[in-house]
């Protein structure tokens, strides 16, 4: 893909869809961007957090006296110091909210206290904080705080936590069950399974993984005594959301007394959309001390305190005919929510997973039930592709297992069951209605591009080199564009999920776009400028984009679930259209023609049939600034806002093919080729999306091959740094073969679908399918992730359980 830098390419219309260079990149490449750790306000003091060393215990006493005496220490505080701080709310309660007036989400059972005072429930659970002159002094003082614990029994797996006699985490939640959630038709599914010609079953572990943005989180709090205003700088995906939740629900201060600023954010992938104790603590301590307070996490701290992802144990069943038609699918899942419900974790573990389990297939009967349980582990949250990846994994593993059972090519089984193109909009029977798609075209393209037909020959060739070649297919549908607010309330979301944009056209013809979302590396400044420039037909370089500061940006919910381009960008386009229609009315006045004769196109308003009689965008902007001669029904100036709440979600999808080689001697798995054909509808900037697709695939490969949050029996996170938690490195992946199909979504004016994380959804399934394929002649029918060399080597030697 080559950069388009010619003048015509910088000017809309037609600018959307162009791979223009990201305007954010130069400053990032020069190291000039300011991340939260780089925010240094005058007089800043430094905060360190004491996290629990044990996974489950009563706190009998905390002695902070020694720490208080240490050099540089300004304050040591425990829960007792903040009686007015309310617990961090959980705003996604599975099951739905049937009211226009949602219950106030204070004090949900098990909601996380900012600092825990009575008991600790996971390693890293925050107990106390120290503020000191320097970071080193603050960290050193932590060691001088002594905590007296009374040990309690520990449970780290969801299914264990639900068993009789399991350790209890929260008094208010007997049995540790946060939610039992279902979707689909149980009776119909059970009947179809009972009557089926063929059934296959799998017990799957979708292991817990850690998102691991390379920038750890951080927060800087500031308090202005004169105005009573707080300012929070935080690595957040949703400054407005954090403002809403923190001000009203945690600090108990008026909404307009808190300003949240997201500086440059170093990746997130879901985790930085959550509310964490540190965000409240830096603010209250800044007020108490009269100085800005800064906290920057360490990697180990991040791993022990930032939400983790996936973590389902599932029993799944597929029923079908001998000739390859899938008739039913059923999933029973035990989801591990961790010690406390995170901001939206319970919804991720239920609706986001369960409603997608049938993927790209038309299946008559489907049912999913989720038992979401508390355990002594870090809270569960979102992670790139969250929910959708777990769904795709179980379905795509089942399809391969079924193909093996009936002796059919896995591609043929998939082909036979794809939702036909003429069936859209398609109700999947689990609560989602897919908007648009041509799954056949997409799937066939992936087979063609990957050279699927040549695989038998390649397998034979690999054997001559001591390698077992395996090929794995995986398809997916990813629900994106969260969301239609009312629909989300039916999922139990306590909050609107619309997005907004404001556009100001300055008198000199330049344009400022502000949006409520906040980038965590997705080049919003570039892509959103493209949207506005395309609508107006002006040079993209005259458009600036601002976001990430609640004082400056219009309301919005932030960046998550690949929603920015299908939520914030449509808000921009609609705002630009409002301005254009105003310009048509005003332009008619300026041109002295009737309104119905005025046309807006190519960056100007002109008289229909007489393009010479025209006013350019810049001329109109100036005229609107002056406002001379405008009739009373047309307000001067150009400044408009739109709040976009789509009629329904959008549903990107795709087909991936992994080719692996397993070394017969060492059990090592190498991904030797990877093909992905994704459909994200109309794309704003293919260069930006390409980067997100590539990064997403590698993230998914990481789960398949190496990533795992491992807890020991005592609830200690064994993989709490990057020596023990493996992230994919450059040498672990080959270049990918990528292509796309395009079925625009009817649910927003750009025809956009989510893109950022969608390609994380299928790789784990594709790789596991490929490795199982490589080992299938040994009778191997499933291996749990991650596919470490040792695990695969044992299976090569005939060891290990078989289902």
């Amino acid at each position: 893909m080559t950069a388009v830098t010619g003048e015509s390419a910088l000017q809309g219309p037609g600018l959307l869809g162009q791979p223009i260079d990201s305007r954010e990149d130069p400053q990032l490449l020069r190291g000039e961007a300011v991340y939260v750790a780089d925010v240094n306000l005058p007089g800043t003091a430094h905060m360190a957090i004491l996290g629990s060393e044990v996974a489950h215990a009563k706190i009998l006493g905390i002695d902070t006296k020694a720490a208080e005496q240490l050099p540089g220490v300004l304050k040591v505080a425990t829960a007792a110091d903040f009686p007015d701080l309310m617990p961090l709310p959980c705003i996604w309660i599975p099951g739905g909210v049937e009211s226009h007036f949602p219950p106030h989400p204070y004090g949900l059972p098990g909601a996380r206290p900012v600092l825990t005072g009575d008991a600790v429930r996971h390693v890293g659970d925050p107990i106390a904080v120290v503020v000191a002159e320097t970071e080193r002094q603050a960290v050193a003082a932590l060691a001088a705080i002594s905590v007296e614990y009374e040990a309690l029994p520990v449970v780290t797996r969801a299914d264990d936590a639900l068993a009789e006699g399991a350790p209890q985490l929260h008094e208010a939640v007997p049995g540790n069950l946060n939610a039992y959630w279902t979707c689909g038709d149980k009776d119909r599914t059970d009947a179809a399974i009972a009557a089926a010609e063929v059934t296959v079953e799998l017990d799957l572990v979708n292991q817990r993984t850690i998102n691991s943005p390379i920038e750890p989180r951080g927060a800087v709090g500031d308090y202005n005594k004169a105005t009573g205003e707080y300012t929070l700088y935080a690595s957040t995906q949703g400054p407005h959301n954090h403002r809403f939740l923190l001000s009203a629900l945690v600090l108990g201060i008026p909404f307009n007394k808190l300003r949240v600023i997201a500086p440059t954010v170093g990746g997130s992938f879901g985790t930085k959309g959550y509310l964490y104790p540190d965000m409240a603590l830096v603010l209250v301590l800044a007020k108490a001390l009269g100085r800005p307070v800064k906290w920057v996490d360490t990697r180990t701290g991040l791993m022990n305190s930032t939400v983790q992802g996936r973590d389902h144990r599932q029993h799944v069943t597929l029923a079908g005919t001998r000739d390859g038609r899938i008739t039913a699918v059923r999933c029973t899942s035990y989801a591990n929510l961790g010690a406390y419900p995170s901001t939206i974790g319970p919804g991720v573990a239920t609706a986001l997973m369960g409603r997608s389990i049938t993927g790209m297939y038309a299946i008559d009967a489907a049912f999913c039930e989720v038992y979401a349980a508390f355990t002594n582990t870090v809270s569960l949250g979102a992670q790139r592709g969250s929910g959708r990846a777990e769904a795709a994994f179980l379905m795509e593993r089942l399809v391969d297992r079924y193909a093996g059972e009936i002796g059919m090519d896995p591609a043929a089984v998939r082909r036979r069951n794809l939702v036909p193109a003429e069936k859209f909009p398609y109700d999947n029977g689990l609560g989602w209605t897919y908007d648009s798609g041509n799954y056949q075209e997409n799937f066939e393209r992936s087979l063609e591009l990957s050279g699927y037909a040549d695989m038998p020959a390649r397998k034979a060739e690999a054997r001559t080199r001591g390698k077992r070649l395996g090929v794995g297919l995986a398809t997916y549908v990813a629900i994106c564009g969260v969301g239609p607010s009312t629909r989300m309330s039916k999922e139990g979301m306590l909050g609107g999920t619309w997005e907004s944009a404001n556009i100001r056209v300055h008198p000199t013809g330049e344009v400022s776009v502000t949006v409520g979302s906040a980038s965590t590396g997705q080049s919003h400044g570039t892509v959103f400028a493209q949207v506005a420039a395309d609508e107006f037909g002006i040079d993209v370089n005259t458009v600036n984009v601002y976001e990430g500061d609640t004082l400056k940006a219009p309301y919005g919910q932030g960046t998550y679930g690949s929603r920015s381009y299908s939520m914030a960008a449509p808000a921009i386009a609609l705002t630009a259209r409002k301005i254009k229609s105003k310009l048509v009315r005003a332009g008619a006045v300026f041109l002295g023609i009737p309104e119905d004769r005025a046309v807006y196109a190519n960056g100007k308003v002109f008289e229909e049939g007489n393009e010479e009689n025209a006013k350019t965008f810049a001329e109109l902007a100036m005229a609107m600034w002056y406002g001379w001669g405008l009739p009373p029904e047309i307000e001067p100036a150009l400044d408009e806002t739109t709040h976009f709440d789509p009629p329904d979600f959008n549903y990107p999808f795709g087909s991936h093919v992994a080719v692996v080689e397993v070394d017969e001697l060492t059990g090592e798995t190498e991904v030797v080729a990877y093909t992905a054909v994704d459909d994200a509808g109309n794309i704003g900037n293919p260069k930006v999306v390409l980067g997100q697709i590539e990064g997403s695939i590698v993230h998914g490969l990481g789960q398949a091959l190496m990533e795992a949050a491992e807890y020991d029996d005592q609830g200690l996170l064994v993989s709490a740094d990057l020596r023990d938690y493996a992230l994919p490195r450059a040498a672990d992946v080959p270049f990918f073969a990528l292509d796309k199909t395009c079925t625009p979504s009817p649910h927003n004016p750009l025809g956009a679908k989510g893109a950022g994380e969608i390609a994380t959804v299928p790789p784990a399934a594709a790789v596991v399918n490929a490795v199982v394929d490589a080992l299938s002649d040994l009778g191997v029918r499933h291996i749990d992730m991650p596919l470490t060399p040792e695990k695969v080597w044992r299976r090569l030697r005939g060891e290990g359980a078989e289902q």
Partner: protein, 154 residues
């Protein structure tokens, strides 16, 4: 330090990355881990890329240290490598980027005049730098582009 002399007294256990970020205000160098794994903190010490979170400041006394702040030209002009990474969109959130630019700068410099590094060589070189956003492809393409351009021009 980026061509200028810096004099200061360092604590015996002070890390170079702390001196750079906290002492000298050179915050372009990033800290992503506690264990020398991520490569966000890579700077060049006498031309060799090192993880500045693993270097004690006093051990760097008398050495030439270059950081991301010293890479682009005085007017912000991007080097060939930075420009190539820009064209390939080899950065997304940008947090790993300064470390990548420093580490890859050594590769590009050290192979200049010889054979261009192969794709596996570039990937191998990059194993000390973690990136969670890009999946590395655009970074590898950026290095390939930078090497091709420098050879054309050289």
């Amino acid at each position: 330090m980026n061509g200028a002399e810096e004099r200061f007294a360092a604590e015996p256990n002070e890390l170079l990355v702390e001196r750079l970020r906290d002492g000298l205000g050179l915050t372009g160098t990033k800290v992503g881990c506690d264990t020398g794994q991520c490569g966000s903190c890579v700077v060049r010490l006498d031309g060799k890329s090192v993880k500045s979170c693993l270097v004690i400041t006093v051990a760097a006394a008398g050495s030439e240290v270059s950081t991301i702040e010293g890479v682009a030209g005085p007017g912000g002009e991007l080097t060939g490598l930075q420009e190539a990474l820009r064209q390939e969109h080899g950065t997304q959130c940008g947090f790993c980027t300064p470390g990548m630019v420093m580490a890859l700068g050594e590769l590009v410099d050290s192979t200049a005049g010889g054979a261009a590094p192969t794709e596996p060589e570039i990937r191998e070189w990059l194993t000390g730098n973690l990136c969670r956003c890009t999946g590395y492809h655009s970074v590898v393409r950026g290095v390939q582009r930078a090497c091709a351009t420098s050879r054309q021009e050289g």
